[in-house]
């Protein structure tokens, strides 16, 4: 039986470098070349200074727990058999957040502010995504 496809991102010209970065094993963030503000998720315009100009910088690779949820229901056929799985909302030192699956830890160990390390994994269908590990 063919594997059920997971959702694939609907990539725009402005978000393409983010996905290309993940494919190359790097979590890239947009930094405004006008005022230096880092923004995430990727978008065309800097909401602080309204400049279009930006560069892509690699995230340092650390994070802390902001919140989380544990899915006990698959919600999508491609995740049948996957629950329970934990999705963590994590603060990056760059001032933005990511949402990513928790690896190598039970959700009971999570606390607001707990330190994490960002990794990148293939989702089994050729898409590379960030994941979070305890440190």
């Amino acid at each position: 039986m063919a594997e059920t496809p997971k959702p694939v991102p609907d990539i725009s010209p402005e978000t393409r470098p983010y996905w290309d970065g993940l494919a190359a094993g790097r979590l890239l963030l947009q930094r405004c070349t006008g005022c230096g503000t880092i923004r995430h998720y990727p978008r065309p315009l800097c909401p602080a200074c309204h400049g279009f100009g930006h560069e892509w910088v690699e995230a340092e690779g650390t994070a802390t727990v902001h919140s989380w949820t544990v899915a006990h229901h698959p919600f999508h056929p491609a995740w049948r058999g996957a629950p329970p799985f934990t999705l963590v909302t994590a603060d990056l030192p760059e001032g933005v957040r990511i949402l990513a699956p928790l690896r190598d830890a039970a959700p009971e160990a999570l606390r607001i502010g707990a330190p994490l390390r960002i990794g990148i994994e293939d989702n089994g269908q050729g898409l590379r995504l960030p994941v979070l590990h305890p440190t």
């Binding site: 995430h40 998720y41 902001h66 949820t69 006990h72 919600f75 949402l99 995504l129």
Partner: protein, 385 residues
């Protein structure tokens, strides 16, 4: 010019709420509810000259109502696609339109086959409002609204000590009200223990923290307040209205404060327009896609401080004789998921004194909220008048 008090809800209508409308179309359900609301207002369908579509689902459009109701001169037509905040946004839009004289009697129809047709839980990824989370979060396995809202509740619990039992209080009281209402999908009493034993969906949200998927329809008519004076029903004036959007409206993940909704910006504006405070509210119909969203809105409305919602809802405080009767019809949790238009209908019935066994004594001033699209908030304050 403030629109406060210049518009009134003059008609309300609803179909039976079920989990299977027996193959009837969304349009047929909406037409039945619309005829009910128009008749309740004492109007003839051809007197409708405005239509505000609360949900731009694509299932029905204003033209369908012109065609089926034989409306000869539709003068105002607009949609308010704010998800679950849409119905109260439609109330605001219609009130502003009749206050400005753009139309006189606006119809606001809402109906869905959320259970037997396109199931709500499976549909959101196709909505443009969810494009951001669709690109960046759905590939992670964050698919359903419960998964997007659960981290808000978890953070509230961690910061303030809020508990699942406190969320259960909301579900239990709401169920009690649904049973009193009679036109409700859920008909069996619910206990806190049953809530606590229900299966986890997206921790910390359990099955009984989640709303229903329903078939049915409801509708309201909003008229110019001076015209409403001579109409069939006692006037229910719209005295305050506002809309608010949270910071980072398209991605909860990036929101500076996960525990504050758009309603926190809207509520002070609506109270100021109406010239009342939370202490003046006799009954509140609060959008309840999840129990947690009710608790968060009680704080954002100012009924208690941020972090105090858990203690506020304890001990049956939201019951008919509690400190603030909430969702007296059973809400989305236990009556039906009509995207909150059923909350508007219920508030009007309460203020007319027509709420039957769930009537709040001497209800003179009340409010209704909407919540949708990851945090948008709407509020209308109404008063018997």
């Amino acid at each position: 010019m403030s629109p406060s008090g210049k518009a009134a809800v003059t008609g309300v209508g609803d179909t039976d709420y079920t989990r299977d409308a027996g193959g009837r179309s969304v349009l047929a359900l909406q037409l039945e509810a619309s005829l009910g609301a128009i008749c309740d207002a004492g109007l003839h369908p051809r007197e409708i000259d405005g239509i505000v579509m609360p949900i731009a689902s694509g299932a029905t459009v204003a033209e369908d109502f012109v065609t089926n109701l034989g409306i000869p001169d539709l003068r105002f037509s607009v949609a308010t696609p704010l998800g679950g905040a849409g119905p109260v946004a439609a109330v605001q839009c219609a009130a502003a339109a009749v206050a400005a004289g753009l139309c006189t009697h606006a119809l606001l129809p809402l109906g869905r086959t959320g259970r037997t047709g396109s199931r709500i839980g499976a549909r959101i990824q196709q909505m443009p409002q969810f494009r951001t989370v669709g690109e960046f979060e759905a590939p992670m396995g964050a698919i359903a609204p419960a998964q997007y809202y659960a981290p808000m509740a978890r953070r509230h619990m961690e910061l303030f000590g809020t508990t699942s039992r406190q969320l259960a209080e909301i579900a239990v009281t709401t169920r009690r009200h649904a049973i009193l209402n009679g036109n409700a999908s859920m008909t069996k009493p619910l206990t806190i223990e049953e809530h606590q034993a229900s299966r986890m969906i997206a921790d910390p949200l359990r099955l009984f923290d989640c709303s229903l998927e329903s078939d049915g329809a409801c509708a309201v008519v909003i008229s110019a307040a001076d015209r409403a004076r001579d109409m069939r029903q006692p006037r229910v004036l719209i005295t305050g209205m506002a809309e608010g959007h949270p910071d980072s409206p398209s991605a909860i993940t990036q929101r500076p404060d996960l525990t504050r909704l758009g309603l926190a910006k809207a509520a002070p504006r609506a109270f100021a327009m109406a010239g009342v405070t939370p202490a003046d509210i006799d009954v509140a119909e609060i959008y309840d896609c999840f129990t947690w969203i009710v608790l968060c809105q009680l704080e954002d409305l100012g009924f208690c401080g941020k972090g105090e919602g858990g203690a506020f809802v304890e001990g049956g405080a939201l019951g008919l004789d509690g400190r603030l009767p909430v969702n007296t019809h059973g809400g989305l949790l236990s009556q039906a998921h009509m995207a909150g238009m059923n909350h508007v209908v219920e508030l009007v019935r309460q203020l007319r004194g027509e709420a039957g066994r769930a009537q709040v004594g001497d209800a003179e001033v009340g409010l209704v909220t909407g919540y949708g699209d990851l945090g948008d908030g709407t509020i209308a304050i109404m008063a018997r008048g």
